[in-house]
């Protein structure tokens, strides 16, 4: 864990513009938590208004909800636009610095690795590493979802501590199982994929660079078979990642649905006992949704960050190769 953080920090330092990244992430942080609060409060007030037959209060809740949603949409859109611009420049900076560094290596160092390995370092390693910031769920999502989890947890504790305890049992066990059986192996599998991709690129490259020798010595079939073998190896490693992701999907359904049913049962009892209104139960479900969505986002982001570590480590390894003076 510590080495992953250090590797990520080293890569950010190498790319530069870390202050801008911190500011943009901080600006992005409140969005998910605010959205959860707005939605939960809207549902609570709307259902209470429906229950009490108060049409004015319902109009008021709907109007306020519309204005706040518009504000959140504009705020979030502006921050993400700035963030997208930042990421484009950040990826470009990493690629440029890596290229500059590799071009400054001695011929002996360059020749020590197959061409495919260098192609992989310039392409698939950069793609894997920059997924830290430019795939669907990435590092800032992990930070944003963490803030969302904290805020919704505090609200849930204030609203109903018993329900919060129930929710947290399911969420915590989900995160634990996910870390043990999915996130941890993913890091190793991603590293295997990068290595298999490099080998595959080397085999593919041989078809071009050794074309004259291959034609003269009738080696095309042999090279094709080797390329096919390395392609299969690469696919096998990628399939292992897909298996883990399928496991993650199954775990999500299992834990999500069982938690939902337990809260529904307890909520029904409390409403019957007059300890809770239907609007409050809906709001609790909304907060639970926020907590779960935050947790899922956090888990997925962590998994993606772990996968990206394979690329980050290989980029740092390339950048640590001493250049010719």
């Amino acid at each position: 864990m510590h080495s992953n953080i250090k590797a990520t920090r080293d890569m950010f330092r190498m790319a530069g513009r870390t202050r801008r990244f911190s500011i943009l992430t901080l600006l992005r942080c409140p969005f998910d938590a605010l959205r959860t609060i707005v939605q939960a409060n809207f549902l609570m007030h709307a259902f209470d208004a429906i229950n009490s037959g108060n049409l004015n209060e319902l109009y008021h809740a709907c109007g306020l909800f519309g204005v706040l949603c518009l504000f959140l949409f504009l705020y979030n859109g502006t921050v993400w636009m700035l963030y997208a611009e930042y990421v484009t420049r950040w990826v470009g900076a990493i690629r440029r610095k890596l290229f500059e560094h590799i071009s400054g290596l001695s011929l002996q160092q360059v020749e020590a690795k197959p061409t495919g390995e260098w192609i992989a370092r310039l392409n698939s390693d950069v793609n894997a590493a920059t997924a830290l910031l430019n795939q669907n769920m990435h590092l800032p999502h992990a930070i944003v979802s963490f803030v969302n989890i904290c805020v919704t947890s505090v609200i849930l504790v204030l609203v109903n501590p018993e329900l919060f305890s129930l929710i947290i049992v399911f969420v915590a066990s989900h995160i634990l199982l996910n870390q043990l059986f999915i996130a941890k192996p993913l890091m190793r599998l991603s590293m295997n994929v990068q290595e298999a991709a490099a080998e595959n690129a080397a085999e593919m490259n041989a078809l071009i660079t050794c074309a004259d020798t291959a034609i003269l010595y009738d080696v095309q079939d042999f090279l094709l078979k080797r390329f096919e073998k390395s392609s299969l190896e690469l696919r096998k490693e990628k399939m292992k990642i897909q298996h883990r992701k399928a496991m993650e999907s199954g775990l999500l359904s299992l834990m999500g649905m069982s938690g939902y049913l337990v809260i529904l049962l307890f909520g029904w009892r409390w409403i019957k006992a007059g300890l809770m209104t239907f609007g409050e139960l809906v709001a609790v479900f909304q907060y639970r949704g926020g907590l779960l969505a935050g947790s899922m986002m956090f888990i997925t982001s962590l998994m993606n960050v772990r996968s990206a570590q394979a690329g980050v480590k290989r980029i740092n390894e390339t950048m640590s190769l001493s250049r010719e003076e």
């Binding site: 197959p114 061409t115 080397a202 490259n205 041989a206 050794c210 004259d212 020798t213 034609i215 042999f222």
Partner: protein, 212 residues
Amino acid sequence: MSIYVENLSFAYGDKQILREINLNVKNGESIRIIGVSGCGKSTLLKLLAGLYKAQDGIIEVQGERNPEQIRRQVSVVMQNPMLFPASIKDNITCGHPMSNETIKRACDAAQLSDWIASLPDGIDTYVGERGGKVSGGQAQRIAIARAIAKDAPVVLLDEATSALDGDTSKAVIAALESLTKGKTVVSVSHRPDDLMEYNRIYRLEGGRLFNA
């Protein structure tokens, strides 16, 4: 006649490289073609190897005119040979079925056996495509062993002795002598040298071939 070339001309687009080349090489003869860089030596060698198709004129190697058939009759050794990202053994056999005896003979003749014996994985040692894991001399001797194992009647050498230094030249020359023994040899180089003996020497200039 092992190699027969008549009025051979070749151009890359508008740039004429070879003009009306005529050449006859008998079985077992060795010839050397010298010329400055870019004069078309390597192009001529690629045509003789069946890697390029003649645009004008005739190329006949061991009685074959079809480039695909010509390729079966020749072995080529280059100055900087490309090795496949595979084991030494695969680089010699090129994936073709070959007896251990044939492989051993090729390694002995190419002066590789002692070096291979010193490697932990022996002949199964992995080598990179540009010889990154082996020295230039070793990579060249692997390429020579590959050519010996093919046992083609015609051997084409492209600057094969141009970059030899003191330490590796003896071994490479010995390997080349084993490869070319009793074969028809065409060697091209940018400078004359006395490392190997030839029956005739030609000079390629302005796309035309002259006696040197």
